[in-house]
Amino acid sequence: MFRNEFGQVVDLDPVLGYLHRGVEKIAENSDFHHIISQLDPLEYVSSLFCEWSPVMSFEKLLDIQVPRRAEYIRVLTGELNRIASHMLFLGWYALDLGGITPILWSFAERDEIVEMLAAITGAKLLFNYFRIGGVNGDLNHEFMSRLGDWMSRAGAQLDAGMGLLNENEIFVRRARGLGVLDRETALRMCVTGPNLRASGVPFDIRRAHPYSVYPELEFEIPTRREGDSLARYLLRMDEVRQSLRIIDQCLHQMPDGPVMARLPRLLRPRPGRAYSAVEGPRGQYSCYAMSDGTDQPFRLRIHDPSFLHLQLVGLLMPGNLIADTMAIMASLDPVMGGVDK
């Protein structure tokens, strides 16, 4: 719903439900292995994170210890997916401001990551790679050679792509001070992820509630205070650099060993509840699983940050010009597949 006066937005209200597929209900009627493939298309840009939190909660239900190599592979592929997602953001953000070149430059980067992930997962978008108790398949030669090739020049490529925007007066003037999200509003609206950190709250689940092998890895949590579109864009680019650091450390510290835990063929967790959250490229992906002792979950609640971030448009848009609606929207980076589950 959209109202404007003389080109200025007066009121804006997102209308949801056009993409609703009832994934949570589907999950109640599938067994635990099957659910993972159903959750992939939720947030198709970063689907590894949609798998990660349910898989973690199922592991808590079943009391499974995941092999350390599998955890490292999860972190490695997850950070690669985070970079791919931020690259997509960079391209679309520039495109929504009218620049046509950055999307193709960032897609060149994203393509390489997607090819890498396709080499181990077999899919380019909906990976379906994480398994309860580990991952589906060890790192292979093609993945490693592609990764090494890419890592040797990733930073330089990123600088080249950002130079096109960061030193561009038109872009900076448009993005600075646009759609300012202050700290209190951000906390009140349950904003997480880069959007929250761009408003000055250094909250990152990888550090606040550590999971997997993140406690063993060294990385910073970039924060910015301005809370405007430019800060949200720059913060994501800072995160890409931190992700590169993490990938480097993963490659150095990764132990040998199995990538799957020993599991019974039919998973029947004891009745109970488990919650898990991961830090995705858009914020907190979390999952609350309830089991009644059968091979299907009794209830699976999925939390997706895009849904909450989309609600911000009603707060940030009024007073801005129509021309800026898409720019603010793009800077919040919601994915519609995650908004309607």
Partner: protein, 444 residues
């Protein structure tokens, strides 16, 4: 008779129809020319300016088509290179015919008129937009003697006619019965009014310097070397002119009228088929027009940037060869083909004799065409002028294309405030400084 006709093949039937028809037409033409040629020539000779004008106008309208195609192809290829893409490479060599195919596709599409539109105005709008472009090209001097019309208010005429396209955009937006079209058209009108002022004021400095508005005289006054061009005398004027011209031509970063993230396709939302094609045709030719005008005003027009260091004098007298000329014409292609094909034939056993001959023939033709063009470039002033003018113009077209690949779009209020708060005062300052300098230098 009918039975005999039915037994004939298609080719024979066509032959039997076409040949007598041609004979009749030929006889009529011969008689007609014999009778009418004298009076017609007399009439044309008596109205030379009219003949010249009609010829120039026809040439310019015909010229717009290849110009637009070349610019569209440039845009496809240059932006593709900037975007790490290949761009079109299937149609013709290196995809050169892609823009032709684009044009044919637009022609073949349904020309749809939605319900609720104001039909006469809706139909007329693309024509108005397109018609203003050849009219502006009419006053641009391409080379010594190669121009449509030269009159003493050419620059004023250019801006007046150039402003007419906004009327067309406004008509399109209003008649389309669509809020996005109307918003796009209103933006176009606001933008055109805001940028027409600095655009026109930025060239006043040149008018003061030249003392005339005739584009031909402005170019002639810049004759000499690179340092006689107006860009050195009017750098600020050029910057203002270039920015305002970008807005006038609706190019990125100032293409508010087609902000597709905000306004679907602006004023062209409801258009389809060739009517839509006309808008884009006009846009691309407009890029050429503003580039040509910046070259004429600031970069010396047809003047070469440097003098030819060694004067070439060619004294060819083909008639002096007598019968030898016939032999030359007959033998030169054969000898040239063989001589130029021989190295390829000797170089590799993979090149068959026929292929070597074909290569030699192509090379020979290229050589002759090159020699002919070189001779024309050296000896005919208008050929060299045309080459320099078109070359410089396409440098500017290239800059416009490259800007589109690089820059994001500015916001509509930034666009407006930039025009009124910065460009307009700067243009006024430019006029003031130029006038002061000219009057001081004149009094000394």
């Amino acid at each position: 008779m009918a039975a005999y006709w039915n037994r004939l093949s298609l080719g024979s039937r066509a032959f039997l129809v076409i040949v007598p028809a041609l004979l009749v037409v030929g006889a009529v033409l011969t008689v007609g020319i014999a009778v009418l040629l004298g009076p017609v020539l007399d009439f044309l000779g008596a109205n030379m300016p009219l003949v010249r004008f009609v010829a120039a106008a026809t040439a310019i309208i015909v010229m717009t088509i290849p110009i637009a195609f070349v610019i569209i192809f440039m845009e496809l290829k240059v932006i593709a290179a900037m975007n790490l893409r290949v761009g079109p490479d299937r149609v013709g060599p290196y995809g050169t015919f892609m823009s032709v195919v684009h044009g044919l596709k637009v022609l073949a599409k349904e020309d749809f008129t939605p319900r609720g539109v104001d039909v006469p105005i809706f139909t007329l709008a693309p024509i108005v937009v397109f018609a203003s472009i050849p009219l502006t090209l009419l006053v641009i001097p391409f080379a010594p003697g190669v121009f449509g019309q030269d009159f003493n208010i050419a620059l004023l005429y250019f801006f007046a006619i150039g402003g007419m396209s906004v009327v067309g955009l406004m008509m399109a937006g209003w008649a389309s019965f669509n809020k996005y079209s109307l918003l796009g058209a209103l933006r176009a009108a606001a933008q055109a009014i805001s940028y027409e002022l600095p655009l026109t004021l930025s060239v006043v400095g040149i008018i003061i310097l030249a003392g005339t508005m005739s584009l031909n005289s402005i170019v002639q006054l810049q004759a000499g070397s690179l340092f006689d061009w107006n860009i050195w005398k009017q750098p600020l004027g050029f910057i203002i002119f270039f920015i305002a011209a970008t807005a006038e031509a609706n190019r990125t970063p100032l293409d508010m009228t087609e902000a597709d993230q905000e306004l679907v396709a602006g004023f062209a939302t409801e258009y389809s088929g060739m009517r839509f094609g006309f808008f884009f045709f006009a846009e691309y030719v407009n890029v050429f027009v503003v580039s040509a005008l910046s070259v004429v005003l600031f970069f010396g027009g047809w003047n070469a940037p440097f003098d030819w260091p060694f004067p070439v004098t060619l004294s060819l007298d083909p008639g002096g060869l007598g019968l030898g000329l016939v032999f030359l014409i007959a033998l030169a292609p054969v000898v040239g083909t063989i001589v130029l094909g021989l190295p390829f034939w000797l170089l590799s056993s993979r090149v068959s004799t026929l292929r070597a001959l074909v290569i030699g023939f192509i090379l020979f033709n290229l050589l002759i065409v090159g020699a002919f063009l070189g001779w024309a470039f050296v000896s005919a002033e208008w050929v060299s002028g045309l080459v320099w003018m078109i070359g410089k113009t396409f440098v500017f077209v290239f800059i416009f294309v490259q800007m589109r690949g690089t820059l994001p779009r500015v916001r509509v209020d930034q666009l407006m405030s930039f025009a009124w708060k910065w460009l307009l005062p700067a243009a006024l300052l430019n006029i003031f400084v130029t006038a002061t300098a000219v009057s001081i230098l004149a009094n000394r």
